[in-house]
C-alpha cells in the first residue's frame, strides 16, 4: 500500500517532476518522433509554428493518456518491480491530482490541436486518447492476452495525426505507417513480456506469456515480425516512397525477422538471461526510429 502523502494535517503539493513522470516521457519521445515524421512526410509545406504546435498537442495528448493510464493502474503498478517506483504506487502523488492532471492535459491538448491545425486532426487525437484510456487500459489490458494487439492501435495514431494536421485529410502512406506501428507493437511488447513475465504474472495482467505460455508467445513474435516486415516494405513497391526508404526498410526488416527467428525458435532454461529477447526489444525501438527517419529523408530527397 502506498504511503501517505500527508505531513501532519497538511498535504504536500505534488512535485512537478512527479507530474512530468506521469506523462511517460520515454514513450512520448517515440510518439513525438513518429508524429513529426508523419507531418514532415506530408506533401505540403506547413508553417513551422503551426507544425510545432500540432506536434506539441500530440505530445500533450500522449502525456495525458500516460497519466490517465498510470492513475487507473496505480494498484497494478505497485505489484510490479518495473513500475513500483512510479509516482502513484510509490506514494509521492495523490491519485486525485493525477486524475485532474490527466483530464486537464487531455482537454488542453485537444484545444491546442484545434487552434493550431484542423478539426480532423483534433478528432483523431481525441479518438487516440479515448482508445488508449478506455479501450486499452480499462477494457482490454486486464481481460485478454490480445490486449497489446488491439491496444497497439492507440500507439499507431501519431504519424496519422501528424499527416492529417498538415494536410487535413487521410492518405494511403500514413495509413501504411499506422499499420506498421500496429504490427510492430506485438513483437516489441511480447519480447519485453518474455523477460519480465514474472512481473506481469504477479500483477495478474493476462499478457501472452502468462496466459498462452512461452512457446506460443515466441511463435507469435515471429509471425507478427514477418507480417510487419511486409507492411514496412509495402510503401516502396506501391509507389508511395522511393528506394531510400525501400532499401532501409528491407534491410532493417530482414534484421528484425532474423532477431525474431532467434526468439521464436528457442526455449528459455532455468536462470536464462533472455539475451535474444532483450536484443530484439532494444532493436525494435531503433528500428522504428530509423524507419520513420527514412520516410522523411526519402520524401525530402525525392522532393
Amino acid at each position: 500500500m502506498a504511503q501517505s502523502l500527508t505531513h501532519g494535517e497538511m498535504t504536500l503539493p505534488a512535485d512537478w517532476r512527479d507530474l512530468f513522470a506521469l506523462t511517460k516521457p520515454r514513450v512520448m519521445s517515440l510518439v513525438v518522433f513518429t508524429a513529426l515524421c508523419g507531418l514532415l512526410a506530408a506533401p505540403v509545406s506547413v508553417s513551422p509554428v503551426l507544425g510545432f504546435a500540432s506536434i506539441l498537442a500530440i505530445a500533450l495528448g500522449a502525456g495525458a493518456s500516460g497519466a490517465l493510464n498510470q492513475w487507473y493502474e496505480a494498484g497494478l503498478d505497485a505489484k510490479m518491480k518495473r513500475t513500483a517506483n512510479r509516482p502513484l504506487p510509490a506514494g509521492r502523488l495523490d491519485p486525485q491530482t493525477a486524475l485532474q492532471f490527466g483530464v486537464g492535459l487531455a482537454a488542453f491538448s485537444l484545444f491546442l490541436m484545434l487552434f493550431a491545425s484542423n478539426w480532423q486532426a483534433t478528432l483523431l487525437l481525441a479518438a487516440s486518447i479515448l482508445f488508449y484510456v478506455f479501450v486499452y487500459t480499462m477494457w482490454l489490458k486486464p481481460r485478454t492476452p490480445q490486449n497489446i494487439v488491439i491496444g497497439g492501435a492507440a500507439g499507431a495514431f501519431p504519424p496519422l495525426i501528424g499527416w492529417v494536421a498538415a494536410t487535413g485529410s487521410v492518405a494511403p502512406l500514413p495509413v501504411l505507417l499506422f499499420l506498421l506501428i500496429f504490427l510492430w507493437t506485438p513483437p516489441h511488447f511480447w519480447a519485453l513480456a518474455l523477460f519480465v513475465r514474472s512481473d506481469y504474472a504477479a500483477a495478474g495482467i493476462p499478457m501472452m506469456p502468462v496466459v498462452a505460455g512461452e512457446r506460443a508467445t515466441r511463435r507469435q513474435v515471429l509471425l507478427y515480425a514477418i507480417i510487419m516486415a511486409g507492411a514496412a516494405i509495402a510503401p516502396w513497391p506501391l509507389g508511395y516512397t522511393g528506394a531510400l526508404y525501400g532499401w532501409t526498410a528491407a534491410i532493417l526488416s530482414a534484421l528484425f525477422v532474423l532477431l525474431s527467428l532467434r526468439v521464436g525458435t528457442r526455449q528459455s532454461a532455468e536462470g536464462d538471461l533472455m539475451l535474444p529477447e532483450k536484443r530484439l526489444f532494444a532493436f525494435s525501438i531503433a528500428y522504428l526510429f530509423i524507419l520513420f527517419g527514412a520516410v522523411v529523408a526519402d520524401r525530402w530527397v525525392l522532393a
Binding site: 505531513h7 504536500l12 509554428v49 503551426l50 504546435a53
Partner: protein
C-alpha cells in the same frame, strides 16, 4: 490494509519549496503558452491573407 501509515511531522520548508517550484514552473509555462498562441495567431493570419 491493516496498519496506519506513520505520519512524519509537517515540514513547512519542504511545503513552501514545492509551492515555489510549482508556481515558478506555472509562470514559465503560461508565459510560453501566451507566446505560442500569439505566434499561432500570426501564422494563421498569414495563411488566410
Amino acid at each position: 490494509m491493516t496498519e496506519e501509515p506513520t505520519k512524519p511531522p509537517f515540514d513547512e520548508a519542504e511545503y513552501r519549496r514545492r509551492q515555489r517550484s510549482r508556481a515558478n514552473l506555472m509562470a514559465w509555462l503560461l508565459g510560453a503558452l501566451a507566446i505560442l498562441f500569439f505566434l499561432i495567431t500570426i501564422a494563421k493570419m498569414q495563411i488566410f491573407q
